[in-house]
Symmetry: C2
Subunit: 370 residues, 2 copies
């Protein structure tokens, strides 16, 4: 069992990463009276604006990490690519939650796949690719099109290359920087969903209703709850999350992206990715649930009891990407829209600037989808 | 009409006062992407933990005020006793909202009474007291018991003295520090309510449902919505707030404490106090409304459109005062309790350490009260 301290409300939570997820974690912690200390290399990180203490430092800066660890009672993070040396350095000083096991798996697609398979959870067919020459035979086995994905440091579609024909192998290999990869079969999914769940140090588990997600150019655009899936499939998604969380003796919020595949009139789930952190597809919980994914994560890493994950509303969350944020004045006027902006100074194409969640009564979306 | 700038989401709101109200204002601003700068004399102010910039300075420190004003696009405050010299200094540099007219009235009970009377709003009978010798004749006119209240700097019952018999006059006069006061008749109220409303610079107005409030030793203990009053009386409360807000060309959230008096089977309202700010009796709006009083205030002073004040739930808000905060672990376990802690390091008797709002379906409290 992870050694999770039980924090008092005067305690400090260290957060690695200062983006919007770190910011929303810090805001959730503040609402519970907890202090936060954010460490991030970028001086204008959004989370720096809402935290008691901030450290602008590289994740490899041991002097800074040491001071950061001394100031924190527990350390968590907003992104799964925290260098393992950073985690090792910090966990010698303070508990880091979720722990290194979850990070290790989430940082390497091969390990992630094996881990999921080991739990009997379906994943897309794949082959390991260590060199250019591996690609063609792998493609022949799993079929094309397929996606070449680097094992490490993938995020929002970076480090991915779509292979449409065998002749693309060289370009694909260059495209992923000739790094250890997997070639993954295209999953002919009917829809994408995710499951956002939480587990506490004493093994309690709770999950939010799975949202249905829409990606464009590999960036999440929209999440809506309920997803257009059966109750049985939603329960299966929750069972997958519980299996993963229990196997990792996980503490905190985790998200698993899942494909819904329909075959012969039967729907089944294929696990795509595990994110050992709060997740963009869970932002609607801020407005549609009593306890958001951010508060839930803070409760878990603080060693506090988890809150209810029940949903009070149907919800559609849209990311505001790049210039879309300029629609904020209109969004403020919509009575059912809950606007959240991240305080980022510069608008850049593809940059997540905020999100808006539109709420409607329970059951209304299912009605509209009929 | 007040000159209210329309802020962009990258703008900075200056907040005078760093207590829990300033903290919750800063958190609400952050959720909308706005930056905050908090100025407060106490170095360990709760709001300092959640703001981008903090200035520890006296309200009379002009050098500090100047830098503070330069950094802010608009300035607001969490308490009504901001010195008028401070406001004059700041408003020469940046808009201060709500403006000095509201502060002027809220800072002086005599002005407040005259202002309310001028609008045809009922107030408790009172007499002005400038010297000890005024007390006895005033008491003879309005009857005893009565309350001697200083005109200025009253808060949470400070600067008040209950006069039970004429012989108490000398002690009462000493009790209020021989300061200009009013002697106010005891209002035999059936209950206390408040109305929390917002007005934007373009004259739009919205009000939350009036909560019913319970004070103990002059500190608010509980607010619950709905109050046990008729729809007509709730509308009267809203009309009072609208009259006050319009008369002041008010921009921001304001609260008015009201007594409900029952005479010959008819209920009527008597205005007690105007608070030109967010108010403790409105904390339940954080959990029971889509737009809280804090977000509403930020929207108003930013020159943004007001949001809906509709209520989704019945709610009972209890302040956690002094050692009551030690019940936080139990409160975290209650599924319908929304816990908010203020991050105050030291527990002191009478100190507001946090609050908890218990939610229930619309209509359930009225049912229970039957």
């Amino acid at each position: 069992m992870a050694e999770t301290p039980r924090l008092t409300p005067a305690a400090t939570i260290g957060i690695l990463g200062g983006g919007q997820l770190g910011r929303m974690l810090a805001l959730a912690a503040a609402d519970l009276g907890l202090k936060t200390h954010v460490l991030c290399p970028e001086p204008d990180s959004p989370a720096f604006e809402v935290t008691r203490r901030r450290t602008v430092a590289d994740y490899g800066d041991e002097a800074a990490l040491d001071l950061f660890a001394r100031d924190a009672d527990v350390i968590t993070y907003e992104f799964e690519n925290v260098p393992s040396a950073t985690v090792a350095f910090l966990r010698a000083r303070r508990p880091v939650l979720p722990d290194e096991q979850a990070l290790d798996i989430a940082q390497d697609r091969r390990k992630e796949k094996s881990f999921l398979e080991g739990l009997g959870i379906a994943v897309a067919p794949y082959r390991r690719i260590g060199q250019l020459a591996d690609i063609e035979p792998a493609a022949a086995e799993i079929g094309l099109p397929a996606v070449l994905k680097t094992c490490r440091l993938g995020y929002d579609g970076k480090g991915q290359y779509v292979l449409r024909e065998a002749g693309d192998a060289r370009a694909a290999w260059a495209g992923v920087g000739e790094a250890a990869s997997i070639l993954e079969a295209f999953v002919p999914f009917a829809r994408e969903i995710s499951i956002i769940a939480a587990r506490s140090a004493d093994g309690r588990f709770t999950a939010y209703d799975p949202p249905e997600n829409v990606h464009k150019e590999q960036i999440l655009r929209r999440s809506q709850v309920p997803a257009r899936i059966s109750v049985a499939l939603a329960e299966e998604a929750e069972a997958i999350a519980r299996k993963v969380a229990d196997a990792l003796d996980y503490v905190g919020v985790l998200a698993i992206e899942l494909f819904v595949v329909e075959e012969e009139g039967r729907a089944r789930l294929i696990a795509n990715e595990i994110a050992p952190r709060v997740h963009n597809s869970g932002h609607w919980t801020m407005d549609a649930c009593r306890v958001s994914q951010f508060e839930q994560h803070i409760r878990a890493v603080a060693g506090w009891p988890l809150g209810p994950a029940a949903r009070d509303r149907d919800a559609v969350m849209d990311n505001l990407i790049g210039e879309e944020v300029e629609g904020w004045p209109q969004l403020l006027r919509e009575p059912d829209a809950c606007l959240h902006l991240y305080g980022k100074a510069r608008v850049r194409a593809g940059r997540k600037m905020g999100h808006v969640t539109r709420l409607s009564p329970l059951g209304s979306l299912a009605q509209a989808n009929r």
